[in-house]
């Protein structure tokens, strides 16, 4: 069925956009927070951490990517199941490992490879289920 195939393709394209933005965002966030250091859970400590985060360029780059993630996430959830999109997005962890091996020549532990295989099999299993199992408003209107 053409519409079924189209739904699957646009869902996968949006999930890919989500994965790229989320990974880039998390990476910059981790880098920014490492520059700031451990947060002390006292009123002045939290105020200090807040001041440092809103003035950090790295944190703002992270926020830019995470906004891109949020937009693609909201868009895909307007037509696809949450229980389809959420596990499919985990493909990013597998992708990061493969990129680290191919481009950075990092050595990867056996445990991590087992994790990558489990994620790929899991995403394939979820990916072949129907992306949408509930009625969508726009469809009911149209």
């Amino acid at each position: 069925m053409a519409s079924e195939k189209r739904l699957r393709i646009k869902t996968l394209a949006m999930v890919l956009a989500m994965v790229v933005c989320a990974n880039a965002g998390d990476l910059m966030l981790k880098r920014g927070m490492s520059q700031i250091g451990a947060v002390q859970l006292t009123a002045p400590g939290i105020a200090q951490a807040f001041r440092l985060t809103v003035t950090s360029g790295t944190i703002w780059v992270a926020i830019f990517f995470l906004s891109g993630f949020m937009l693609s996430y909201m868009t895909v959830l307007s037509w696809a199941d949450y229980s389809y999109v959420m596990p499919a997005g985990a493909f990013g962890y597998a992708l990061l490992t493969l990129l680290a091996v191919v481009f950075l020549h990092e050595s990867v532990s056996r445990r991590r490879w087992v994790g990558v295989v489990l994620i790929c099999v899991g995403v394939l299993l979820v990916g072949q289920t129907k992306p949408r199992t509930t009625v969508v408003a726009s469809e009911a209107v149209a």
Binding site: A49, T75, S78, A90, Y93, V116, C120, V121, G122, V126
Partner: protein, 122 residues
């Protein structure tokens, strides 16, 4: 103890927030076309939905919990533990959003959950 508490806030905040946003997005309906203008109009409709604004503070709470956890513990402990949210989120999708979770989807979610925990543990 404080780590477990922060982790519970992280998982329940993110899944609760995402479920509220999914509910709001389903009510908003999908954009007619994936072009900048249509996406802006789509965003405009989405932010006028109350469920969206129920989700945002929950996700913000989860985000702050993540920042605090990352300043206490290594990422190789925080992310594997938060992998539990795949299971919590699927339960929420089934019982709150009424999505049909086939056995293939459940199997996939459990594999992903275990896989993410292993990958992030290093």
């Amino acid at each position: 103890m404080r780590v477990i508490l922060a982790l519970a806030v992280l998982i329940l905040g993110s899944t609760g927030g995402e479920i509220a946003i999914t509910y709001g997005m389903k009510a908003t309906g999908e954009p007619t076309r994936l072009r900048p203008l249509e996406l802006l109009q789509f965003l405009g409709r989405a932010v006028r939905n109350g469920w969206f604004w129920a989700g945002v503070p929950l996700m913000a709470l989860s985000f702050y919990s993540l920042l605090i956890l990352l300043s206490w513990e290594p990422i190789s402990l925080v992310i594997p533990a938060s992998a539990l949210s795949y299971v919590v989120g699927t339960l929420g999708a089934k019982y709150i959003l009424g999505e049909q979770i086939s056995s293939a989807r459940w199997a996939g979610v459990l594999l992903v959950c275990a896989g993410v925990a292993l990958v992030a543990a290093g």
